[in-house]
């Protein structure tokens, strides 16, 4: 644009001498202003960078991002019951928009104008996903509050290929009588465990997830619970001493 303008002005100036009317170009005016003003605008260099004025934050936002979390049928009712507790922190603390799409049975989370932190969307999505997997709302809330918590899932048959009765027994070993073993592991390693048929989900920090996973794998492979307690206790005390 500048080049064309320059090209346009140049022949005009030449034509001045040939009894044409003098047309004052904006360029020449501005050039005069320069020495008067004293401020050299770098933008005004001939055939150089375009000029972009500073934009307001609204325009910078871009489009809204959205996340969807599918809800299986058996979690439908608990979702309904805990809906208030779920959406409150998302909306108030993270400033996101959330709704449950009844037709597709998805929880949809969307950013909006008020969202300050774009990472909040991921946190919210993880939070809802954790709840859908089977964790309690309070436990899943920790995902929003702490950055370094993670969620790990694996299958019992991943550890050892078991079938039929053996599989059932392995699951029983993990759970313990009245959930005793599972709670013990949760307490010692400061994690939360969800035992859904053959799938196992662990929520916690990285080191703790590792500890819990080792304990559960040992149980699957056949160690008695007392031995597993001893091991996790030793490991946990060691890690506690370090910090």
């Amino acid at each position: 644009m500048d080049a064309s303008e320059n090209g346009a002005t140049a022949p005009e100036k030449h034509d001045e001498g040939e009894s044409f009317t003098k047309v004052k170009s904006k360029k020449s005016q501005k050039r005069k202003l320069e020495p008067d003003g004293g401020t050299t605008m770098e933008v005004e260099q001939p055939n150089k960078r375009p000029h972009f004025p500073p934009i307001s934050a609204d325009k910078l936002r871009g489009s809204d991002e959205m996340r969807k979390v599918a809800v299986p049928a058996h979690r439908y009712t608990p979702l309904k019951e805990n809906w208030l507790k779920i959406f409150t922190p998302i909306v108030e603390n993270l400033q996101l928009q959330v709704r449950f799409n009844l037709k597709t049975r998805n929880v949809e989370i969307k950013t909006c104008k008020e969202t300050q932190d774009i990472a909040a969307l991921t946190k919210a999505a993880d939070f809802v996903k954790a709840f859908v997997l089977g964790f309690q709302v309070d436990d899943a809330m920790a995902l929003i509050r702490l950055d370094e918590l993670f969620l790990e899932s694996f299958d019992v048959t991943d550890v050892k290929p078991l079938k039929g009765d053996h599989l059932s027994r392995a699951i029983g070993r993990i759970a313990g009588k009245g959930g005793k073993t599972k709670f013990t592991i949760e307490n010692v390693t400061k994690t939360r465990i969800v035992l859904a048929d053959t799938k196992i989900h662990i929520l916690g920090s990285f080191q703790n997830i590792k500890m819990a996973r080792t304990a559960i794998c040992n149980l699957i492979l056949g160690s008695p619970p007392s031995k597993v307690y001893g091991n996790i206790r030793a490991v946990a005390s060691r890690t506690a001493e370090r910090f």
Binding site: Q136, D138, A142, N187, V188, K190, Y229, S237
Partner: protein
Amino acid sequence: MIEKDRDPNNTNSSIEKLKGSDNYSEDDSDIDFDVNALEKQKKDKGKTGSKKKVVPSEVDDKFFKLSEMETFLDDIEKREGKEDDNEDELDYFRDLPSDEDDEINLDEVMSSKKKKTGKSSRDLKYKDFFDAVDNEPDEQQSDGDDDHMDDSQEEDGEEIDGEDDTEEEGDDDRSKASKKKVTFDLSENEDSEGEDIEEILKTPSPEKTELKSSFEKRQEKMSQKIEELENAALAEKPWQLLGEVTAQTRPENSMLEEDVEFEQASRAAPAITEETTLQLEDIIKQRIKDQAFDDVVRKEKPKEEVFEYKKRLTLDHEKSKQSLAEIYEQEYIKQTQKNTEKEENPAHVEIQKLMDTLFLKLDALSNFHFTPKPPVPEVKVMSNLPSITMEEVAPVSTSDATLLAPEEIKDKNKAGDILGDIERTKTDKKRERRHIKKVKRLKIKEKEKRQKVKEANKTGESKKISKTEVAENLRKVTKGGKATILKDEGKDKALRSSQAFFSQLQDQVKSQIKSTKERSEKKKKHIEVSVSKLKL
């Protein structure tokens, strides 16, 4: 001796000659050879003319005559044994064979010489053929050249020197003849005779030292080099290149002269030089000055406090009351609180304490009705002990020792409760027995091992068994009932003589027989009774 053609003429002639005349011919047959006659001839040493008799054979051709060859060979053989008494006779007016002569034949030469001398083949000596050592080169130059050329052509066929063409041709002609000469000898004759001839003919002829072109010189050097290389390639490889070489296959101490390269997996030991020792000493001195010693710190077993043990015990088997978020919250608060605690200035705390005491005293003095302020806890106790230790209700006079449960003092036995003798069941007793037996078995095995090692070390010193060992062995053997000690209970004297022994043996046998007889008699008696009864 080589067999000759048996020719009746020859033999007859030879016999005649031997018998009669002093003329000796070349064709001396072996069969009719008479030693006495020869010796006579030797003494006489007459110069006789020799006839050259050529007997035709199948192999003969234009150049070669078998009979001539044989005669020549015989002569040479005899010459080796004989001394040379004949003077060197040279016919100075004889025509030497010229270069252009094609038909130069050893035989001809020899025959010419022989003709001239008129000696028999037996009496021909070296000097008949060759001059004295000094004059050799001159006379035999031509022949020598032939051979030299021949050899050079044989070995380096491609290398035809840049000599004159005429010379070459001449040489070729000569070489052909000489080749024939030499090959004739080599091929027909596998004895050393052929080689001798070659050696004789191949006199050390000087090369043309006159003027050689630079190209010639270069060529010579090249040829020499090539010769060397070829010889090296053909020859046996030195032991260094022969792959696996043992000490027997290489010369003695040859490895010492070799610079051998090999890789070492381990680090080489540090070379101790004066410099290194000085460096070390410097380091040591510096360390002493700095008092920076590498002393070993004594390891101490960590003694467990009581409350630590109690902490260890708690394993909550129930669902935790706090949610995960709360747990992490509390942890975080704990961490932050720790930091805030340390931030309190100890100086301020002290000042506050002093001020409080001062003001309390002043108040007490100034006010008549003084009511002291309620005591403010001066010390802020923030204990990280588990609440159970704080809440424990115990009398004042108790100490930790009395408070501790037995498990806290000493860990429980892995095997479980300790049982008394009466409390043990059958399985427990058996278990104990088995354990004892196992332990004992191991001990015995250890002992045996040690014994073996001892004996192995002892070999060579003294293999005599001591009294104690003898007694031990005896006891072992008799204990198991495998063997019994023969005790001579007063029968010593009796058994000293063989007669006594055999008489005793006889007695024993007799007694045995008696006993059996009695038994059989008893049986018979029984039978008799029954029989008699029956009969009756």
